[in-house]
């Protein structure tokens, strides 16, 4: 089974966002970049599929040259090889243009399954997996929390408001991972050593045919200072009164 995992390197969720003077990008000094958390579930699921059915796992990353260290981490977890499409400033770039670049690369790779994270935690776009599946003309099941995979098909569970959908599709297919799909493994020391020798191809690419333009990036307005209603259980009644009579939210 040949598996491709789309992986993005993103500012860690602990990052305090500061905006550059250009007004459209964030300051990257002191920012720690990690594997997008949803992509970690995708990588883990891919490695498990390889362990069960054989084949190989290819990591596909579009992003800055500095993403290399996170690609090596994915290889250390157990992926076999990687293709890094190098392009700077893609963090908040147009999803359509990004999907086109990944599509051009993937159509030259033999695959049965593609795994993605359901979204990247920087742009929060939630677009790439379905755009990619649409371009490749294959079925997609997004934001899955469970998957049973055979060599012919995949049955996936997907959380929706107040319930769950169970969807089975034939391969080749794309699945995007939701938290809860699995518990990603830590790279072992031999894994880390082996990763250094695994093939990592780099290609320079550039975005074209963007269908949206970023005009500005701003911090949210500061919150007005809150009010401590009181201390301990004696304050509970007053809080409820405020919520009912002043804030009118209950």
């Amino acid at each position: 089974m040949n598996i491709v995992v789309c992986m993005k390197s993103v500012p860690s969720s602990e990052t305090k966002v500061k905006i550059n003077s250009d007004g459209v990008t964030i300051e990257q000094t002191d920012v720690v970049f990690e594997i997008n958390p949803y992509d970690e579930y995708a990588i883990e699921e891919a490695i498990r599929a390889k362990e069960a059915h054989g084949g190989k796992v290819t990591i596909l990353t579009l992003g800055a040259a500095t993403a290399t260290q996170n690609i090596r981490k994915a290889l250390a977890m157990g992926a076999d090889e990687a293709l890094h499409l190098i392009c700077e400033n893609t963090e908040l770039a147009d999803s359509s243009a990004i999907a086109e670049l990944l599509y051009s690369a993937i159509k030259e790779i033999e695959f049965d399954v593609i795994f993605c994270g359901k979204k990247a935690i920087d742009c929060d776009n939630h677009q790439l997996p379905n755009r990619l599946a649409q371009l490749l003309d294959i079925p997609a099941v997004t934001a899955i929390s469970n998957l049973e995979l055979t060599t012919e098909s995949g049955s996936a569970k997907r959380n929706i408001e107040g319930g769950t959908e169970l969807i089975s599709v034939n391969l080749p297919a794309l699945f995007s991972a939701e938290k809860g799909l699995n518990e990603p493994r830590y790279a072992s020391l031999p894994g880390i050593m082996a990763a250094k020798k695994k093939p990592l191809e780099e290609r320079q690419v550039s975005l074209s045919n963007e269908k949206s333009t970023v005009l500005s990036l701003e911090l949210p307005p500061p919150k007005p200072k809150g009010r401590i209603v009181g201390e301990g259980p004696e304050a509970a009644g007053e809080l409820v009164r405020i919520l009912r009579e002043e804030a009118k939210v209950i």
């Binding site: 969720s13 602990e14 305090k16 905006i19 949803y38 908040l92 147009d94 359509s96 935690i121 929060d124 776009n125 939630h126 677009q127 379905n130 755009r131 599946a133 649409q134 294959i138 079925p139 997609a140 997004t142 934001a143 929390s145 098909s153 997907r158 959380n159 408001e161 107040g162 319930g163 769950t164 169970l166 599709v169 034939n170 938290k179 809860g180 269908k211 949206s212 333009t213 970023v214 500005s216 990036l217 701003e218 911090l219 949210p220 919150k223 007005p224 809150g226 009010r227 401590i228 209603v229 201390e231 301990g232 259980p233 509970a236 809080l239 409820v240 919520l243 804030a247 939210v249 209950i250």
Partner: protein
Amino acid sequence: MAQGVLIFAEQREGVLKPSSLEAATLGRELKKQIGGELSVAIIGANSSSLSSEFKQYGVDKVYLADSEELNQYDGERYTALLAEAVSKAEPSVLIIVASAMGKDIAPRVASSLDAGLATDCTDVEVIDGKIIITRPVYAGKAFIKLRIDSDIQILSIRPNVFPKKVEGDTDPEVIDLQIGEKKYPVSEVQHVKSERPELTEASIIVSGGRGMGGPENFHVTEELADVLGAAVGASRAVVDAGWRPHTEQVGQTGKTVSPNLYIACGISGAIQHLAGMSSSKVIVAINKDAEAPIFKVATYGIVGDLFEVVPKMIESIKSLNETS
């Protein structure tokens, strides 16, 4: 020439998602500024009766696909039908609700129309006939403004942000959509229901964190949620500890929510949690530690033991409910 606004009306089992009326209200306001017609695409089994729910939202046309085959959401089929509605209506704006279904269908339809898409929008304005969209990035740590450059501008809106408002009374013309062949076999779609309100749709959320002490204590926050008709949320710490299911996690690696009221019990306020909930309209924090970061975003706070404070709150809400 593309003109007007098309709304995707989301329904499950013949019940309209209330946020679809928020989308219709926004659509009506945009139409006033950019011209053209306001239309709605309704797709699903037993969905024809839903068109009447849009009567008071200024809708001119309804594009309808009502068939037993459409009784479950199916990305491929629904996308093809929505794309057909677009080719018939030729709108310059398509609005979808950023729900589980909307998050799935929006990029599919954008890709099939070779169009730009802005997801989870929280504000929209019209400048020179084009829409300018504001949407959160980094889970709300920053907001981006963007413009869509394709002929059709597609956006999904965050539920609970755009108010819905009735205005006028129309009798929309109904146009049927053709249901085509399926390309990808989907062997089975099942839908399993759960009971509590969904986090991203709830107007009140009661969340618990580390301060809850253990999984056995969450009946306290659940009871508060029940007297308020609220959804139940959790911090990443308690989800990762296995105390609560992943579906309840609020934050940058969970759900980003903006309810009218968010009550944080025993949550200290890690930066990734604050990102996911700080756009809530009113935030209440109950925490023993007066220095906890959660108090920096809270509208109202009580410094104290949640196991003493929350039961008192439940008591006073119950007595208010009885007297009113």
